[in-house]
Symmetry: C2
Subunit: 402 residues, 2 copies
């Protein structure tokens, strides 16, 4: 079994906020002394999106703790899900039936167990205990906190200040989540930084109820392939855990260089020492593309078999490196010192594109490459021999006229 | 059956705020058309104080409506009472047992049925429906209102502004009271003006739930015998409904003249025409003492038998009028044009009082009379033949010296 400090180092890797380290150290010391695994809580919404590497950040962190000997409990918030929005105001929050909740949960599990260790994971539905609370129990729960405390939550504060209604029932969502921690006697709860208030509420409630307070662990948000926005399905900047090895490998290769280290920290289970070594390599000028290739291999391996990874690499090498540019491509003669924007009429004239506007749209959608790099500025200066790739199949090589 | 407008006049007598008159008119019209009595709701706290005429203001108003053909439902808030203060912070709000609640309620009933018509009164305990609500029901109830709305209640607003904690459970007290109105399908709810927020919440909830909104009827506070403070047991300025006819009669005779009309309005069931006639008599200079005598007879009759009232009057006449001043009383010779304050040393010297300070204390406690009126100003000018009554038994007549 690893030492307390070694466990602490692995657990703290990539974590945004840890509340607090001393408590975690004490819990780990007890774990080693009594061989009682820590109970790690993760609450999941049963609205069942496809899980991508952004969602997987907390799951990977749990997996790392499972590898250290701890136990995970996944809470499916079916109680809240079944109620929907009791004010009836939000159309998006319709009540789900038992059947729907169970079906969504099944889809979820198929995905989360691509990350978590099934043997060290329990799944519980919070309706199990929450549906049993009566009015008196609810009042006792409500009495554990105050209006002022609730108003510390940013969204409540903002809405109150801006006269946007806050339903009284909304105060119960943090309280319900906190109550789940009581039921589990949770040692650690994880979440994104957007979960700060709710997870800290669990600590408060545990203290009120005489339990040892859970350590709160907040993970940073992972930016998607655009390098700017949080990874999300709707922005199409995501890498889904259920995607094929080929797609996954290729997508990791599209991660912006600046995010390589962050992806190593949050999307892999690599040891902090390894990550430090990679940081050194980057500092010393090693080609980011080679490091990213290693990253793609590691991430793909986390979700696919060895054979699938080999095939994904072969496919990538063939499609995107070796044959990235066809042997024979048409040439376009332009004036030396042309800016790209100046030759658009020539591109239209010669049938490479249909119109000026089509070309601009393709550029905006990152559908144009200049020498295998995304074209960002439409008035880049063209050099002799530059290769433009327009859309998926159209190539053109720039030469000087005359 | 009385006409709508006549009923409205009787019901509105003495009411501080009525929300709103048109709705009440409609309800009364329906009552007359369909012979469906209106359901009048009154919530009572099971903490069981002795009821005095101040508490009886709402009860008398209900009695007047019962006489018009309507039905009262008394809600005993045992659910709240049994929970006590779930935050455990207020020592005054310990949880009551079922037994205590029932015992308190019994004491209460003995007193309220000295006012209300038992045949037209139903008593219900709100634990009957509130204890059956589960978490989901509670969330639906909570969703009917907003934090901003709750903050309109003065005490919440003040506490929030002054950083005095408000427990989340406290938001449920108005909601529970409102839910009681739903359960009853109440047509009218009565309360003191301090109940404004809670009773109006009932209207809101009924509207949300698709019920006809209850009319809210707020009664003014009744000042006690000191003419200044709200009648209350702790201030000893009260007339209890359980006091003997003799005590009650005598206490009504101590009501300050300025409050005669208010007592007629709020502490009797007299018709508005009669009250208007009395107002005219007062304006025309009729001796307030005679009108008060009639008031004392009316109020005492509301709580005692005819025979008891006769005996009370006889007792009062004998003890406080006919023998108000003994035949033989000692005389004290003072300088003409003396102020009372100037003769205090003489009063001490002659053994009428023990000390200057005793006299001043007695004056403060209304224990000194000058010619059968309470002495208010210690520097009143004394006239020849004035009779001072000091405490219960000491009399002294003022004469001029020399």
């Amino acid at each position: 079994m690893k030492t307390v400090e070694e466990q602490l180092r692995i657990i703290a890797k990539g974590v945004s906020i840890l509340v607090d380290e001393d408590e975690l150290r004490n819990k780990l010391t007890e774990f080693i002394q009594n061989n009682r695994p820590l109970i790690i809580k993760l609450g999941l919404d049963p609205s069942a999106p496809d899980i991508h590497l952004g969602h997987a950040v907390v799951l990977r962190k749990i997996k790392q703790m499972q590898d250290l000997g701890h136990e995970a409990v996944i809470i499916i918030g079916d109680f809240t899900g079944k109620i929907g929005d009791p004010s009836g105001k939000s159309k998006g929050r319709n009540a789900l039936t038992d059947e729907q909740v169970r079906e969504n949960a099944r889809t979820y599990f198929e995905q989360i167990f691509k990350v978590l260790d099934k043997k060290k994971t329990t799944v519980r539905y919070n309706s199990e205990w929450l549906s049993k609370l009566n009015f008196e129990d609810v009042l006792r729960l409500a009495a554990t906190t105050t209006v002022a405390r609730m108003m510390e939550r940013d969204d409540f504060q903002n809405r109150f200040t801006n006269n946007i209604p806050i339903g009284i029932h909304e105060f119960f969502y943090p309280l319900m989540q906190a109550y789940d921690s009581i039921e589990l006697n949770a040692d650690i709860e994880l979440g994104g930084t957007d979960q700060t208030f709710n997870i800290l509420m669990g600590r408060t409630l545990q203290k009120t109820m005489g339990q040892s307070q859970q350590v709160a662990m907040f993970m940073p948000l992972l930016e998607g392939l655009d390098g700017v926005e949080k990874m999300s399905k709707s922005l199409e900047n995501y890498i889904g855990v259920y995607e094929s090895a080929k797609v996954m490998f290729k997508k990791v290769m599209e991660v912006p260089d600046e995010l390589i280290l962050k992806y190593f920290e949050l999307a892999t289970d690599e040891h902090p020492d390894r990550i430090e070594a990679i940081r050194q390599e980057l500092v010393q000028g090693k080609n980011p593309r080679d490091i990213k290739y290693a990253l793609a291999e590691i991430i793909t391996s986390l979700y696919h078999t060895e054979q699938e990874v080999i095939e994904a690499k072969e496919y990538y090498d063939k499609a995107f490196i070796k044959k990235a540019i066809p042997d024979q491509i048409p040439e376009l003669a332009v004036k030396a010192q042309s800016h790209l924007v100046e030759i658009i009429p020539l591109l239209v004239e010669n049938g490479f594109i249909k119109s000026n506007s089509e070309f601009r749209r393709l550029v905006q959608q990152n559908g144009v490459q200049l020498n295998q790099h995304k074209l960002k500025h439409i008035d880049s200066i063209l050099l002799y021999g530059d290769v433009l790739k327009i859309g998926k199949k159209r190539f053109v090589k720039i030469i000087w006229e005359g």
